[in-house]
């Protein structure tokens, strides 16, 4: 199921990014007309779906090797640590939903977006219930969009 999902995601993103010739010209700008904002908005959902479904394969596919994430509380995690957390089915399930996705910056090889992510559930002793302001960074590396990192802050003030 995860394999099929991963393949589906691959196809979806390739279609969305019009990236048939990815990787052949890594230093060239993306083909004109590429909908960068649309592509990374899809990847934003792919990312959260992977986290929700304990789908480490898709997360590993999405995350760049030098990926870094700063969790609420200031905990820094690497790609390996984040993928391990996502893959760990012993941890509880989280209901994760993003809204208010705003692409703050988009170029042929970089995109930065923010969203409001709502999480319901516990993992281990940690209760994640709440809303979070999230900044996600994507970079096109060797012709493929990868998640470079994320910073997540819990919303504790009225907006």
């Amino acid at each position: 199921m995860k394999r099929a999902y991963g393949l589906g995601v691959t196809i979806l993103v390739m279609i969305a990014s019009g990236a048939v010739a990815l990787g052949q010209a890594p230093k060239k700008p993306a083909a004109s007309g590429e909908d960068v904002a649309g592509t990374v908005a899809i990847l934003d959902h792919v990312w959260l779906d992977a986290a929700h479904n304990h789908d480490g394969e898709t997360a590993a596919w999405l995350f760049a090797e030098n990926f870094v994430e700063v969790h609420p509380g200031g905990f820094l995690v690497t790609k390996l640590q984040q993928v391990d957390m996502i893959s760990n089915t012993q941890l509880g399930d989280l209901a994760i939903q993003s809204s208010d996705i705003q692409v703050r910056y988009a170029s042929p090889d970089v995109a930065v977006l923010t969203d409001t992510t709502t999480i319901r559930g516990k993992q281990g002793e940690t209760n994640y219930d709440g809303q979070y302001r999230v900044m996600r960074v994507f970079a096109k590396l060797q012709g493929r969009w990868r998640a470079a990192g994320a910073g997540i802050a819990r919303i504790t003030t009225a907006q």
Binding site: G23, E65, N66, Y105, R133, M135, G143
Partner: protein
Amino acid sequence: MRLIHVGVLALVLSCAPPAFSQTKSALAPAAAEDWKALDHKWLDSERTGDLDYLEKFFADSYVLVLANGQSYTKKEWLGILRGPDRPTLQTLDPENIQVHVFGNVAILTDHTTIKGHDSKGKSLDGVFNVFRVVIKKNGTWLATGVVMNPDLTKK
């Protein structure tokens, strides 16, 4: 069905280079970029109120997310720093600066100590683990995002 999967896999493999080469690229330092100096200059300018520098250094896309989740655009944040409600900062010191470069975007993480107060005298003292994003535009690195978190890792 199996044939379709094999075909898709072949396509993906032909399009996506090995992860090893991607790793090398992502880890390759940007030539001669002094990231620590960039981070210190950034925070020194916020501390001293060097708004001319910040106006140039912040990309139009800049967004600041404070530790309570409150977010500000470039215009909003510079407006605060220019206005009567600007905070007074005695210390704004980043340490343990780590850099992750991905071509034309870099993510800096640091441990920032803040000492100061807001316009009403409320203390802003704290230690934060900060996620910073800078983008390269026309050969110049510009700040485009910040997410702050209180450092609870040692509690």
